[in-house]
């Protein structure tokens, strides 16, 4: 008897992956061609993609709807400030800071993952605010005033920008590719089962806490890495900004608009959000109202986001993670 098989990636998706690889290669050469302004803006776009992909991993694939990921964005930045203040090399410490934030997430997970749904969401926010308050007690942070990553000023601005750009691009690529690989593995299917029904997932042998814990820590490391990169790009660390709930709102918006629980959705959502900020960001309160209105529109009329437009037309989801049995 022929063994049963899972269908391989279809031709359209393979083309899409090929295009993505070409785009990454193009982006890798851009700092030598584009202006400093474009490079700075693209660093921010890469960071947005990382935030969206991590929040989608957490909420879209594991059902852990957090409004407190800013805890790790801020911790990534804060740890970087502290490590660099101790005389350690800033670019390397970006990654060490992310791992440190992951360790904090692991500790917090024993408490926060005991909660579900709304309780979990509120707890994550409370934790983020608590960490922010604690960080503000650190004399180096100077309360509300904040501090700066002055060590980076020792580098030539163009070199600093180039290194940061390449680090952000590489981090984004690794995060997107790593998420793809992770979700293809057993833990990916287990996290989706937990998202759909945690008790039923346990009844088929899934260690629900262990799976959620791993996803939570991975998402925390991802957000902390993006947060540390953002700080290295912005230089200034202000607790209210780094630990601000606006990051969670941005993540939610990007994932909602792109398509929650889809692989490509958060990337599309990040592009839309970046475009909106670039085009309308100067309109201040009107811009924020417009973004809010758009989020409400998607929640009401396009709950599956932009990817849902494909699905509604009977087309396959691009880069779907669904395993299809060869019949």
């Amino acid at each position: 008897m022929t063994p049963a098989q899972v269908l391989p990636m279809n031709t359209k998706d393979r083309r899409l992956v090929g295009l993505a690889c070409l785009a990454v290669l193009g982006l890798a050469t851009l700092p030598w061609l584009g202006s400093a302004l474009i490079v700075d803006k693209l660093i921010y776009l890469f960071i947005l993609v990382m935030f969206a992909v991590m929040w989608n991993l957490l909420a879209g694939y594991a059902g852990l709807v957090s409004v407190g990921q800013q805890a790790f964005i801020g911790l990534g930045g804060y740890a970087l400030i502290r490590l660099v203040d101790a005389g350690l090399p800033p670019f390397v410490m970006i990654f060490v800071a992310a791992i440190g934030a992951g360790a904090v997430a692991w500790l917090l997970s024993w408490f926060v993952l005991r909660m579900k749904a709304g309780e979990f969401a509120i707890a994550t926010w409370v934790i983020a605010e608590t960490i922010r308050s604690l960080v503000m007690f650190d004399p180096i942070v100077q309360g509300e005033t904040g501090t700066s990553l002055l060590a980076l000023n020792a580098y030539d601005p163009d070199l600093r920008r180039l290194v940061l750009y390449l680090l952000a691009l590489a981090s984004m690529v690794v995060m997107v590719w790593g998420t793809w690989v992770l979700l293809q593995r057993r833990i990916g299917a287990e996290s989706q089962a937990i998202r759909d029904d945690e008790d039923a997932a346990a009844s088929v042998g899934i260690s629900t806490f262990r799976v959620k814990q791993r996803i939570y820590v991975i998402a925390a490391i991802g957000c902390a890495l993006a947060g540390a990169l953002w700080l290295a790009s912005a230089i200034t660390f202000q607790p209210r900004t780094s630990f601000g709930v606006q990051w969670s709102v941005f993540m939610l918006f990007m994932v909602l608009v792109g398509g929650i629980g889809t692989f490509i959705g958060p990337i599309l959502g990040a592009l839309v959000f970046f475009g909106l900020q670039e085009l309308f960001g100067d309109f201040g309160a009107w811009y924020l109202a417009g973004v809010g209105g758009l989020a409400i529109f998607f929640a009401l009329y396009l709950p599956n986001g932009i990817v849902g437009l494909w699905l509604d037309r009977g087309k396959d989801e691009p880069l779907s993670l669904r395993k299809r049995l060869r019949m």
Binding site: A4, A189, D197, G205
Partner: protein, 248 residues
Amino acid sequence: MMMQAMTAEPMLRASGVNKSYGALKVLFDVDFHAMPGEAVGIVGPNGAGKTTLFGALAGSFPVSSGSIHLAGENLSGTSAAERCRLGLARTHQVPRPFLGMSVFENVHVAARSGAGMDQATATDEAAEILRRTGLLALANRSAASLGLLDRKRLEVARALATRPSVILLDEIGGGLTEAELGALIDLIRSLQADGMTVVWIEHILHALLRVVTRLVCMAEGRILAQGDPRDVMAHPQVQRAYLGSSPE
């Protein structure tokens, strides 16, 4: 044969199990067992505690007191997931498919996590179980698109994929046509023939009695009677509690 059953170690045994939710007690000193390869039926009126007993056996919640053993191993303190991996699978009275996944993925993840299979073996196993449960043609459909009957089939398929030694079936016959019931009975008999222990809660008595060799009747959280199905059904307390009448 009877003597063998009397002396062998039960595959599944609950001893003095009590369960309370605050002041509300729902299981009272329940003693229950199923021998290896045996098919045991559980009947009782709604609210008798049948599904609660399944929850207690499967580790869906901790019991207030008492113990549960699987193949001689004390399951106290083990989670539902651990019990599944030890060989105790269950279906749910109201089907609980993973709605964001396909039918195949539902079964595949159970094979991987419950039975610890690798990707390729789990794929083979899932395809075989889908064929056996009549779901193969729907393998790539979203579980959310299934009707109630197919969702019930999926519950059984998912439980089977964990390669259990004991399977707890909770009212999987409800809503089936006679032909579908016949197919279900054939499936359960084939599981038993494979050496699996089956514990089946069911209200469709004629279907249940075609499969089980022992019957347990519960009411108000207690076991009223257990033993030969005909004797149990003829028991006056069972007649009164379950059928609403007692022979004069």
